[in-house]
């Protein structure tokens, strides 16, 4: 059983409006990845996380709580929870990932920063001003709240003199590149995924990898942004044998993640179907979106190994 749809959407939208993220994170958690990298604050080009990777272990904690509460008498009080959440951030209490879970997702922006440096890209970071993009609220149709939040992000970019943004995950990429221009006036920031930047640089691997890996294309990268070739080029140049599963490229099969916040059981069932396709292609699989990673690796359990593409690329190009 799921929690009441309207109340869950209300809580997520309230959080974005009041706390700048669908699930607010403490600043020290959101910026942990920058420690030791000595990145300049702001500048013309910045690496922008949109907090997506940092958020995933917290969203997972929330989904687990939702699965537990959805079947209990507490589900009837979700509406009351929404009212309380406007005053006290109760969603934060429900999601408490372990240090190991947080470190796993924090490693991705760290690896991407090292890769960009190895490619000779000059870039800064926005630290506490690296805000969530509003992706989940946009998908849920909370357009007014998202437009208001996008204006905050636009102000931040202007404040730091940002002209070019390098993104990591597909959801932040499509929000900043394809959605913001439709909802903001005078938004002219150039947005590119780090995979596009690295592929264009034509990097030479410093360590050669081997083995077969099944590529799971993100729906958003493949069908929203047309980003299909770059990850394959980078993985193949690193020495890996790229294996395409039954549905790949623009015909990729969704991991189920987009409905996880509302209908976790449906999301899990879809992930199991996709894992079967990937397992038939190769023993290991690569993802390029944190939502795909968490859904598919969770569905696969011990039956196959998943890695974010940044981990393979760091090993090959910036080890």
């Amino acid at each position: 059983m799921s929690l009441p749809t309207g109340d869950v959407i209300g809580i997520l939208a309230d959080n974005l409006r009041l706390r700048k993220s669908v699930l607010p994170l403490p600043t020290r958690v959101a910026t942990k990845w920058t420690e030791g990298l000595d990145l300049p604050r702001g500048g013309e080009t910045v690496l922008y996380t949109g907090m997506m990777y940092q958020l995933i272990p917290y969203i997972e904690g929330l989904v687990k709580a939702e699965l537990k509460f959805g079947d209990s008498w507490l589900a009837r009080y979700t509406g009351l929870g929404r009212k309380v959440n406007r005053v006290v951030n109760i969603s934060a209490f429900m999601a408490r990932p372990s240090a190991a879970e947080r470190a796993l997702y924090n490693q991705v922006p760290i690896d991407v920063a090292h890769l960009l440096r190895r490619a000779g890209v000059q870039f800064g970071a926005l630290y506490e001003d690296d805000l969530y993009s509003g992706a989940l609220a946009y998908d849920l149709g909370a357009d007014g709240v998202v437009a208001e939040h996008a204006r905050r992000v636009q102000v931040v970019f202007k404040k730091h003199g940002v002209q070019r943004v390098i993104t990591i995950d597909p959801h932040t990429t499509t929000m900043l590149r394809s959605v913001y221009p439709k909802v903001l006036d005078g938004y002219d920031v150039e947005v590119r995924s780090y995979l596009e930047v690295l592929a264009e640089k034509g990097m030479t691997p410093s360590a050669r990898l081997s083995g077969e890996v099944a590529v799971h294309d993100s729906c958003v990268f493949a069908r929203y942004e047309g980003l299909v070739d770059e990850p394959r080029e980078l993985l193949a140049a690193a020495g890996l044998t790229v294996c395409d599963p039954e549905n790949s490229g623009r015909q990729t099969w969704c991991c189920g993640g987009p409905v996880e916040s509302l209908y976790p059981a449906k999301a899990a069932a879809n992930a199991e179907k996709r894992v079967a396709q990937l397992r038939a292609a190769a023993p290991d699989a690569v993802t390029m979106c944190p939502m795909c990673f968490v859904n598919l690796s969770g569905a696969a359990g011990e039956t196959m190994r998943f890695k974010d593409i940044s981990q393979y690329l760091r090993e090959a190009y910036a080890s």
Binding site: T5, G6, I9, G10, A13, R17, Y138, D139, L140, G141, A142, D143, G144, V145, A147, E148, K182, C219, R223, Y224, R250, Q251, T252, W253, C254, G256, P258, V259, L262, Y263, K266, N270, K273
Partner: protein, 104 residues
């Protein structure tokens, strides 16, 4: 069976040029390839909108919000229907009319 019709529904949902439910020719490709096997398919929802059957739309909250917005259907739609954006538009409508979500 009595159905209350709101003839202005389609016009109310046309927030932008991207909403194009009227391009759907009801061929069923979206229904055949939906990864989620959503109970009520986009073509049926869009038909409700075009016919002004607002009560039918508001009765289908779970199918509307179960859509992954993955665009598998849109990628293969022979009529170029903006299925994901159309579904998002329905969500926006339900947020306001059913859930009372205040904007901004």
């Amino acid at each position: 069976m009595t159905v209350l019709v709101n003839p202005a529904l389609a016009a109310e949902l046309e927030r932008s040029d991207e909403f194009n439910a009227d391009a759907c020719m009801n061929c069923g490709v979206c229904s055949a390839i939906c990864p989620m096997g959503v109970d009520v398919q986009p073509r049926v929802l869009f038909r409700y909108v075009l016919l002004g059957m607002e009560e039918r739309v508001t009765a289908e909250i779970e199918p509307v919000f179960s859509c992954l917005l993955c665009k598998m259907c849109e990628e293969n739609c022979p009529s170029g229907v903006h299925i994901a954006e159309n579904v998002r538009t329905l969500r926006h409508h339900l947020n306001r009319t059913v859930f009372g979500l205040k904007e901004g």
